[in-house]
Each structure stands twice: as structure tokens, then as C-alpha cells.
């Protein structure tokens, strides 16, 4: 009887823990945050983003550090922020990168927003604090630094997509599509071999230093990364691996279920519809993406987010939509990382408890039977 109640209690406890992180809370803004609120509702150039990364480290020295993990073609640093409570043990990780395509300005804006949110929330939100304790967040606000800077240069460069490496001999155009350059069925579908085109996959897999930098980092961290998230715009989609139509991820069902949960969480914020599916189903076949590479090396939860909008403004999303876009994207990301975290840190505990419960129940049943036998004897 007591053990049965114990099981019910356990289920209730699990449910509370799942929901304990609370809804997105805008009551965190106070007078001092006014400039912060203005900052996170504007697009920022690379200098401003670099300064902001320094500021995040300075203001949160015990939880934020940075790491330069590669150089771009034009020899600029590729930098991530590592966010988490210090630990003596080796920690699991969540990877997020933004701005692999230069013109998708809402993506770096979201990475900045995400960092700001978790740094604000972990002090008061028990769930975020728990995740900060158990995990490190590795966030790259701008992966394609050269491309991003180029897109800020003048009117004719705003819609640049690729890297800024020169083309191969005989081609005067610049740039490789970094999200077609990874060693994941490279060059097979959804790419161009014309170096002037936007989906040019490069002269070979990992021809681009930016793609190599991510590959090397993932290699060093493999096994530790619970979820890989790469942020893009536009179309309002959550893409699951793989980009190639003939290959299925072994955990497709799980990826879809968690993705659908994220879509539901997104819709709850501002009513926007996002669609979840594989690339060949909901977008177009493509190979050599960072997401595909992450899934191939064994990172179970690998997602590409395509943020707002659906084509009205496209890449030039108005600044007054930055905040609501980031709020809904945060809800979607939060769903995925909570799932990833709980799967890693709770499922073994659950198994242990349920095993104990069943053992306890069996013991009780045996005891009742013994008592019955004894009673019958008398």
C-alpha cells in the first residue's frame, strides 16, 4: 500500500520536476534592464557582438568563459561562450551555433538572446540552475564571421550567404556554402558544383576552415554532447536529420516527437506555426550539413532551426520582431534541451526507482501469501 503510494508520489514528483522551470517570464525586466531590453531588440555588427561576449564574461566570471576554436578564411577568430556552473567532473554539453549563413541576421541575435536568458534565469529558476550545474552550454554567436562582416559592408552585400574564401582556379566568385561543406554525404544532393552559386559545396568536404573548426570541436567533445542545435532563418521550420532522402536517422521517432514538442512550445508563445520534419520532406534534399555531421558522429538530438518569417520580410526581419522571435525560439530550444538533460540525468534514476518499487511490491505479495498460508494453518 505504502509502496503503491510511493510510486504515485514518484510519478507526481517527476511531473513537477518536468514543469518546474516555469513559463517564460518577462517580469525579470526592471529599471536597470532597460538598456538591456533595447540591446536585445536590435541587430549588432561583429565588433558589437565581440564586445558583448567580453561583457558576458566580465559580468558572469564564474559561469561564462570563452574559447577560440578556429580561424576563418580571413584569419578571424571563431569564438564560443562556454556557460555553466564550474565542476570538477567532466560535464555533458549542449551545442548551439548561429550565423553559419551570413544574411540570416536573426540567428546571431537569437544566440545573444539565449545567452542573456539563461544567465538571467539560472539564479531564480530551479530547472535552468540544475541544467547549468549538470551541463555546459557551448554557444557560438557567429560562426561565419567573414560572411557576417561582409553582409554588413554595404547595400549590395546584405544578402551574402556563404563564406568568403576565394573560388577554385578558374572561378572568380567567392564563397562556399558552409552548410554543405561538412563530411556528411558531402556533395551528393542539394548542392551546386558551380562556385558562383549559393549552395556551392566547396572543392572538397571540409575545404572551409569554419567547417573544420566545428568538426574538430565536436570531435574533442564527442560523447559529451547531448544536443546539437544550429540556428538559421527563414521559413519557421525545425529540421531533423538527414538531408539525404535515402538515409534515416536511427532515432527518427524520438527526433520527431521532441521536435513536435518544441513546435507546440513555440506556438504557445505567440501563436506562430513552425513545421518539423526531415529536409527531404519539408524543405529540399541537401547533403554536407552540420546537423547531418553531428547526427552521424552520434549526437542523438540534432536540430536545425529556421526562424521567422515565412517570406514577407525574409532575411530582413524587422527589428521589432527580434524579441518575439527570440522568445518563441527560446521556448522551442528549452523544450529540446530539457528533454536532453532529463534523459541523461533522470532516466537511470527512474529505472532504479521502478526496479525498487517492483521488488518491494513482489516482497509485499509474497508476505501476504505467507500470512494467508499461516492463517489457513490455524
Amino acid at each position: 500500500m505504502m509502496l503503491c503510494l510511493g510510486s504515485v508520489g514518484l510519478v507526481l514528483l517527476a511531473l513537477t520536476v518536468q514543469n518546474g522551470h516555469g513559463a517564460p517570464d518577462s517580469a525579470g525586466w526592471n529599471g536597470k534592464d532597460t538598456t538591456e531590453r533595447n540591446y536585445y531588440t536590435r541587430y549588432h555588427n561583429m565588433t558589437e557582438i565581440s564586445d558583448w561576449m567580453e561583457k558576458m564574461k566580465r559580468e558572469n566570471p564564474d559561469v561564462v568563459s570563452s574559447m577560440v576554436y578556429g580561424q576563418t578564411y580571413e584569419e578571424r577568430n571563431i569564438t564560443l561562450l562556454k556557460i555553466g556552473l564550474n565542476s570538477t567532473k567532466r560535464k555533458k554539453a549542449i551545442w548551439m551555433d548561429c550565423g553559419i549563413h551570413a544574411r540570416e541576421w536573426i540567428a546571431p541575435a537569437f544566440c545573444q538572446y539565449f545567452v542573456k536568458e539563461i544567465l538571467q534565469r539560472y539564479k531564480t529558476d530551479t530547472k535552468v540552475k540544475e541544467m547549468m550545474k549538470n551541463l555546459d552550454f557551448y554557444v557560438t554567436p557567429v560562426l561565419n564571421v567573414d560572411g557576417y562582416i561582409y553582409s554588413w559592408l554595404n547595400n549590395s552585400t546584405r544578402l551574402w550567404r556563404k563564406s568568403r574564401s576565394p573560388g577554385p582556379v578558374g572561378c572568380t566568385c567567392y564563397g562556399t556554402d558552409l552548410n554543405r561543406n561538412f563530411y556528411a554525404n558531402w556533395g551528393t544532393v542539394g548542392v551546386s558544383t558551380n562556385c558562383c552559386e549559393e549552395t556551392y559545396c566547396g572543392s572538397k568536404a571540409l575545404s572551409e576552415p569554419e567547417a573544420r573548426a566545428v568538426t574538430d570541436m565536436l570531435g574533442k567533445m564527442s560523447g559529451d554532447i547531448l544536443a546539437f542545435l544550429t540556428i538559421h532563418s527563414y521559413s519557421q521550420l525545425i529540421l531533423v536529420p538527414y538531408g539525404h532522402p535515402n538515409i534515416s536517422a536511427p532515432n527518427y521517432n524520438e527526433l520527431m516527437e521532441v521536435g513536435l514538442g518544441a513546435v507546440k512550445a513555440i506556438k504557445a508563445v505567440h501563436g506562430m506555426d513552425y513545421t518539423v520534419g526531415t529536409w527531404p520532406d519539408i524543405l529540399y534534399p541537401a547533403s554536407g550539413s552540420s546537423q547531418d555531421y553531428a547526427r552521424l558522429i552520434g549526437i542523438p538530438l540534432s536540430y536545425t532551426f529556421e526562424l521567422r518569417d515565412k517570406g514577407e520580410y525574409g532575411f530582413e526581419l524587422p527589428e521589432d520582431q527580434i524579441q518575439p522571435t527570440c522568445e518563441e525560439a527560446y521556448a522551442g530550444v528549452q523544450h529540446i534541451i530539457t528533454y536532453a538533460h532529463d534523459k541523461a540525468f533522470y532516466s537511470s534514476a527512474f529505472k532504479r526507482y521502478f526496479f525498487q518499487e517492483i521488488l518491494g511490491l513482489l516482497t509485499l505479495v509474497m508476505q501476504i501469501r505467507l500470512i494467508n498460508i499461516v492463517i489457513e494453518m490455524f
Partner: protein, 226 residues
Amino acid sequence: METGELNPNYYPARRAAAVVQHYLNTRYGSPYRWMFLGNVHNASSEDVTEGRKYQLELTIQEMISNVSGPCSAELLFPGAGTPQVQASCDWLLPNNTRAQEEAFYQQHRDSHNLVSGDRIPDSYGHMEPTMKPFWHLGGVASSFIMLEQSNQSTLYNMAQVANFTQLETEKDQLRFQYHVLLHEMVSQEIIHWKMLITWSPAEGVKVLQTDLQPKCNCEDPPDSIN
């Protein structure tokens, strides 16, 4: 290619629905009426002798009034050439934007104050309020090109009005030269088009000339600022 019922969230249905969106803009669009695709509810397709036929039930959103409504459409992608669309959206009445359109028309009809503009929206997604109707007009006019250029392997949106210039009013039609940037999603290319267009409340939007611009491979090593 899948035949019969299609998953309305998958790209074949959505690309076909986008073509319906372009068609509706060519028929009903104006500086104060610009349609976008909402959701696709039902879709089916089959091969026919002339090409590939789609039947769609979808929601269309009018962006200025923020009104949405259902449409049903039939669309044929021929082997080559412009898709053929038949659509009915009973709620798309031509009347409710009359007042705004008339006022705009009267304001710009006299050619002593010809308007022009560029980069709509700008890099930050901003535009002056007075430029908005010209942005809508550019989007509607672009729909003629996007409709004509669409096939089962494309998905078009207008990325930006690079610039527009009002020309002398002729035969009671406002006239404009537009330079637009179209984004084609599957190739991810930005395609430049110039157009000569006319509009009046009575005649609607007409595109007189279109001119595909060569892709600018103007690549100097950049002078990076930051």
C-alpha cells in the same frame, strides 16, 4: 513523385500552394492588398497528359488587413511554361480597400511630384511608412514574375525592392520602374529583375515589361570595416 493525397506540410504541397499565392496577388493584389500563404489543409496531385495537376485547400492571409480565409485551388504545372491556376477565395472581395486605394491613387496621379525609393525593406527590416504601399506594390508586381517562373522545384519570395521610380502617369495608370530582388529558396539564389508596371484601382496591377538582370559577380576582395 507521390500521387494521390499529399502531406500538406511537405514541400510539394507547399510549393504548389505558393504558386496559388502568386496567382492571387496577380489577380487581386494592390498597394493595399498583398496575400501570403498560411497553412495548407489538403493537397493531392496526379500526372495528367499536360503535366502535373494539384488540388489544394489552403488558408490565405491578406497582410494589410490581417484577415485570413480559406481558398480552394487547382493548379497545373505543364512540362514547360507558366503554371495554370484556378482558385476561388470567396472572401477576397475587391471592395474593402477601395477608399485607401483611391486616396493613394489620387495622391500620386498628378505627375508633378513623382515618388521614388530604394532598399525597401532596409538591412534592418525597416521602411518609412510612406514607402509601405510601394513595397506591397512591388511584391504584387513581383508575383507576375514569380508565377511565371515557378515550377515544382522552386519556391519564390520577394526579398527586397532594390529601388523604384515613378514615371509619368499615362492613360490614367500610375507607372513605375521597379528593380526587385527575388529569393528562390531551393537554389538559395537572389535573382534581380527590373519591371515596368502600371496600376490603378480600376485596372489593378499590370506588368508591361520584365528584364532579368545578370547576376553580379562583382567580386573585389572586400575592404572590411569591422
